[in-house]
């Protein structure tokens, strides 16, 4: 029988699942689940099983990660997000030395050595201005979709400066730009919003060493305007995986496969 394993990453707003079959990705998916860990994980795995025509019993091993990973009863084991991210990123980019992960409500930056060990690490999970929720909050206030905000920002050749760190105060600043006389083009305002988040993340990244290769992942890595703004600050080219949001679930699945193989061997 071919071995199938799953990795589940329970995030603040979404749950990511990767199913591996003999080391190859059979399924990856993202479910929107702002819910308790157990419910979120069940919802996401059910969707995954439906898509793959599998039953829970077909999975030899399930490994959960994410802040609330310990609340998942059907997981065989849990590992930290950083461990899973490191594993997942190295699978795609074997020469990675710096990982920048920007999620909905947190951001982390860490270094990996040649052997895949995580050596320095920094995290922001206290302030919304340094994570995806900053952009969402701004989009909501401007009554724009994130997609429109990105397109608009990419058209700008200049960006306004947002001097406030706190999202709440920055919103008032942005609002005053929208009423400014003479008017400030919306493109420059939304470009400023992306610049602000990029400068916040760059500040976080500077606390560790930014050495190539630098890989950017997490949901916010899908935002092209943000990637462009951050790339201006980071000297080496930022590498972005095709599916930046599922990297820790991929890592969890890879670790699950290793554990399942050990069990099988015994």
């Amino acid at each position: 029988m071919v071995m199938k394993v799953a990795g589940i990453d329970i995030g603040e707003l979404t749950t990511k699942v990767v199913i591996l079959e003999e080391g190859n990705i059979l399924y990856h998916g993202i479910a929107i689940t702002a819910d308790k860990a157990e419910i979120a994980a069940r919802k996401a795995i059910e969707i995954a099983l439906q898509h793959t025509n599998l039953a829970m019993l077909d999975l030899s091993y399930v490994l959960a990660t994410g802040m609330t990973r310990n609340g998942v009863s059907f997981a065989n084991d849990t590992k930290t997000i950083i461990t899973c991210l490191a594993k997942g990123v190295r699978r795609l980019f074997p020469d990675v030395r710096t990982v920048i992960d920007v999620g909905a409500e947190s951001a982390a930056v860490f270094n990996i050595d040649g052997a895949g060990r995580v050596d320095s690490f920094t995290l922001n999970d206290k302030c919304g201005a340094g994570s995806g929720v900053f952009l969402e909050s701004m989009a909501k206030m401007l009554e724009m979709s994130i997609e429109d905000m990105v397109d608009e920002a990419l058209r700008a050749d200049k960006a306004v400066t947002i001097s406030n760190t706190c999202t709440i105060f920055a919103e008032q600043e942005v609002l005053s730009y929208t009423f400014a006389v003479p008017p400030v083009p919306m493109a420059e305002i939304v470009a400023g919003i992306h610049e602000s988040l990029a400068s916040r993340i760059f500040g976080l990244a500077k606390r560790v060493r930014i050495v190539p290769e630098v890989v950017l992942c997490g949901g916010v890595a899908k935002n092209r305007a943000f990637v462009k703004s951050l790339n201006k600050r980071v000297e080496s080219e930022l590498l972005v995986p095709e599916e930046p949001q599922i990297i820790s679930a991929l890592g969890a699945a890879l670790l699950a496969a290793e554990s399942a193989t050990v069990i099988k061997g015994n």
């Binding site: 409500e105 302030c127 919304g128």
Partner: protein, 260 residues
Amino acid sequence: MAGVDIGSRTGKAVVMEDGNIISSAICDTILKGTEIAWTTMKRTLAGTGLTLDDIQYTVATGYGRFVVPYAHGNVSEVSCHARGVHYLFPSARTILDIGGQDSKAININEQGRITNFFMNDMCAGGTGKFLEVMADLLQIAFEDMGKLHFQSRKRILFNVKCVLFAKSEALTMLREGIEKCDIVAGLNDVVATAGFALLSRASIIKDLSLTGGVVKNAGVVERIKEKTGLEPLLAPDPQIVGALGAALFAQKKYLAKQKT
């Protein structure tokens, strides 16, 4: 003598005659530029029979102290709060001021002189703005947050200070069917915790006095009491203490001017 405190959210003014407060007002509407300064003073003078010409000296304070066209001078809000508290409560050695968009912890000595102070104006977490955003989210009145606090039977702890994170936590709680009053008490606790953290950077020496619009919320006061173990001294209207301090400075400055 008059003191005018133009804060981020409201304008406050106090008029004094021979060292006694004869009138005060709080202007709660958002007005642009100098309008807030004029409206606040107009409301304070209403019913006193006085006009602006009768005021011999006006000191402006607060974040908008430079947009008070009729002021003779201005003094920082930290000095004014210290001055106002020292006048009301000579035994006070520590002040926590929680305003609309910032908060301050101040130590003063027996003479009312400032010996230490810390300020948070970078993060809306734990300020009036925090509770305002949350009241809006919960669809309750900001003014009711103190009252609702005491209806709470279940203790809830928010593990966050950031407004954005607290919003998403509160939404999850609402979905789970947690009572609004319990959520409100949890939010008041966040404000008290942030205030306590700021106080801890200064020295918490008794007596402790609380000022600012947010401490009209008795729930916040209760939790600060719990965390500091001190019985805080509160002015009849803690929101006008800065303006009171400014009026006291006006008196001092006027007398100094008379002498020369």
